[in-house]
């Protein structure tokens, strides 16, 4: 695991643990009372645990155990250049392995973006241990695509054959222009660098290319069968407490489309709580507010104890 650069220390002071999942090293932070209820904080493309920096203190102070892993391919985890290691099924199996190895009981999963399908996939594999879900700016199904994912600027052009490789790999279109580009509250240079530096090395951003290509647009696409398998099992979550949080300015998964669909899928869910001045990377735009809403939800519905 690369050492943490000096600029990152004040922004992200927590120790990065590492564990081997499916033959590759996964980095994660694990803070708070080890006997507290584990809250798994899952990031998406192209971010890592840093996305949750505003959440660690509120959660641990309230008695919870905050665990933020970096997906294989992202953050401080291994960055394999192997497509087969970065599929939806593989990411799910990686998270299941983490849950098994840390021996987490009664856990809660918090997710955004790709954390969604991957997190819910793992939750369904260990559903007996699941206590609650928090969903932000994500999707879990086939057959409903945002305008964002079907428009040529920038998305489909970014991912066109050959052209996509040129933008994404040569110019690191997404890995160096993610949260820092669409931030609402404004971001310091150090914060932007915290997102970018993990992909600085040439060819280290393979996952940024494989994630969008795994978004199943039509039947037969890579990831379609797995997404469908997950979608079919969603009714099993009918009794799990769910909280929906959505940004009013989210253009990637607009609230009118995807927030509404989530409410259909989980009619028993609380929310969506709508946050203003908030785009796709909600945890970055409105961290403290969202953390407070989450802690309130957990205290009321679950409690901090892990028993």
């Amino acid at each position: 695991m690369p050492p943490k650069p000096a600029f990152l220390e004040p922004l992200f002071p927590w120790h990065q643990h590492q564990i081997t999942v499916n033959g590759r090293r996964m980095a994660y932070i694990d803070e708070g009372d080890p006997a507290g209820r584990p809250i798994l904080l899952l990031s998406g493309n192209p971010t890592w645990g840093f996305l949750y920096r505003d959440f660690i203190q509120p959660l641990t102070q309230a008695g919870y155990r905050a665990i933020a892993p970096d997906w294989i391919g992202a953050g401080y985890s291994d960055h394999p250049r192997v497509d087969a290691a970065l599929t939806l099924a593989h990411h799910v199996a990686d998270l299941v392995s983490l849950i098994d190895q840390l021996d987490l009981n009664v856990f809660v999963i918090v997710w955004q973006d790709w954390g969604g399908p991957q997190g819910v996939g793992a939750s369904l594999q260990r559903i007996e241990k699941l206590s609650g879900l928090v969903l932000m700016s994500t999707w879990l199904y086939t057959g409903l695509l945002s305008k964002f994912h079907t428009s040529p600027k920038p998305w489909t052009t970014w991912h066109a054959p050959l052209i996509g490789q040129y933008f994404m790999k040569r110019h690191k279109a997404l890995s160096q222009h993610g949260p820092s580009t669409i931030t609402v509250r404004g971001m310091s240079e150090e914060e932007a660098l915290a997102y970018h530096h993990v992909f600085e090395e040439a060819d280290s951003d393979h996952v940024v290319l494989t994630w969008p290509r795994t978004i199943p647009m039509g039947e037969g696409d890579r990831g379609w069968a797995d997404m469908k398998a997950i979608e079919n099992r969603l009714p099993e979550l009918a009794e799990t407490p769910v909280l929906l949080l959505w940004g009013s300015q989210d253009e990637v998964f607009p609230i009118e489309q995807h927030g509404a669909r989530m409410k259909q899928l989980f009619p028993h869910a609380e929310g969506p709580i709508v946050l203003d001045r908030c785009r796709h990377f909600m945890q970055d735009d409105q961290g403290p507010e969202i953390a407070a809403a989450m802690v309130e939800f957990f205290n009321r519905r679950l409690g901090a104890g892990a028993k």
Partner: protein
């Protein structure tokens, strides 16, 4: 190495892309020819089932000049689940490499093993990955005076107790117990045969791997099969309850020639149909508690007998702390309760095989057991010529505790009737 054609159902489980483990192997022309001859193919995918029962694919690529110049090995295992422990994969791929050496005249299999040893490739259990309950935990076991015997399967110690002589009577316990469960049945049964009561891996005095993914349905079956083959048991009367049956019935379908009778009690074999409400409750509970309080579980499940404190403690003895319980904590979620669960397909195959067997079957049943009661009728359908079940009123899931002596008498009478 035995190449196989996966069943249609298996293939559909594999789906399009393999879950991990790609290993590219360069193949020299002479080796390529030998492999090609052995598998009867120039290019394409062939499958084989490894020692550990994982499915591997060998992809031969014909890169021109008519001969394969590259081969890739893929491991296929359950989707969305972590891959098997590394030592299993190492053992599988090493076995394959030895086979390649055997196949090609220019290579020596012994050299492959020597090099593997030199390279420090460990196919056994690395240090610190297996726990062994200290013997001092097993002092003061009421009514269980038997000295443990030991044997080894795949580098893991299996403990068993033995009593009597003659044809073997194999007693298989289940979750979350150990051989101690059979203490009221061993004395009478040892009058008519050689009673053997092993502890499953993860239970009793047997070794306990620490990793959750070390325990799988097929590993347990394989371990048990190796145990039976190591002791070279034949003419076996199989007596099983709970997981003892889920495993024992699979085993019976695999090596029926070694078995002559079956006594199934409060158990079954599931091809992936949904389970009882009581089971779902137990499954959820078992996965959420930080530690299983086995004495309490036993006391709550028994309907007639009351356990003394020393007896209750004997059930906790194998688990001095929660790390020792991984096998017990994993078991409930290994029961296939959906058609696509791991083990469900294998069980459906096993059930078809069991239907064709013609061996005497006895079904003593503790009827105060909401978890397994529906399985009694399933078993009657599978073994269509079994005697009507012996319903033991007032007895619960752990029939060996609630009505052990009584069940033993039924078994003895039944066996004498056949002699």
């Amino acid at each position: 190495v035995k190449f196989i054609s996966p069943a249609t159902e298996e293939l559909s489980l594999l789906r399009a892309d393999p879950l991990l483990s790609e290993q590219e192997l360069d193949v020299r022309p002479d080796v390529a020819e030998a492999v090609e001859r052995a598998v009867g193919k120039r290019a394409g995918k062939v499958y084989w089932r490894s020692r550990h029962d994982h499915l591997y694919a060998l992809e031969l690529a014909d890169l021109g000049r008519g001969r394969p110049s590259m081969a890739t090995v893929y491991g296929h295992w359950d989707r969305f689940e972590p891959r098997p422990p590394e030592h299993e994969i190492d053992a599988d791929v090493l076995a394959f490499c030895v086979w390649v050496a055997e196949t090609a005249e220019s290579l020596n299999p012994a050299d492959v093993l020597k090099v593997a040893q030199f390279a420090g490739i460990k196919t056994g259990w690395p240090q610190g990955t297996v726990l062994r309950t200290p013997e001092e935990c097993f002092q003061n076991l009421p009514d269980f005076p038997y000295a443990p015997h030991y044997t080894e399967v795949e580098g893991l110690r299996v403990a068993y107790v033995e009593s009597g002589s003659g044809k073997p009577i194999l007693l298989l316990h289940g979750e979350p117990t150990w051989g101690y469960l059979y203490r009221h049945m061993i004395p009478p049964l040892s009058q008519i045969g050689r009673v053997i009561a092993p502890d499953l891996i993860g239970f009793g005095r047997s070794d306990k791997p620490l990793a959750a993914n070390a325990y799988s349905y097929k590993s347990h079956v394989r371990w048990l099969r190796t145990f039976v083959e190591t002791l070279d048991l034949s003419n076996i009367t199989l007596v099983c309850q709970d997981w003892g049956g889920l495993l024992g019935l699979r085993l019976l379908s695999q090596i029926p020639e070694r078995f002559s009778r079956l006594v199934a009690m409060n158990t079954g074999i599931s091809g992936g149909q949904s389970a009882t409400e009581a089971f779902y409750r137990w499954r959820r509970f078992s996965q959420r508690v930080p530690e299983l309080n086995v004495p309490l579980l036993m006391r709550n499940s028994l309907t007639k007998k009351k356990l003394s404190d020393a007896e209750a403690a004997a059930y906790q003895a194998p688990f001095p702390s929660r790390e020792y319980q991984m096998g017990a904590r994993v078991f409930p979620r290994l029961v296939p309760i959906r058609p696509d669960h791991r083990g469900a397909y294998e069980n459906r195959v096993a059930i078809e095989k069991l239907r064709t067997l013609d061996l005497p079957v006895l079904l003593p049943w503790g009827v105060e057991d909401a978890i397994t009661l529906p399985w009694r009728d399933e078993l009657r359908k599978i073994f269509s010529n079994s005697a009507p079940p012996i319903d033991l009123a007032g007895a619960g899931h752990f029939i060996q505790e609630d009505a052990g002596e009584e069940v033993a008498q039924h078994i003895m009478k039944w066996m004498k009737g056949q002699a």
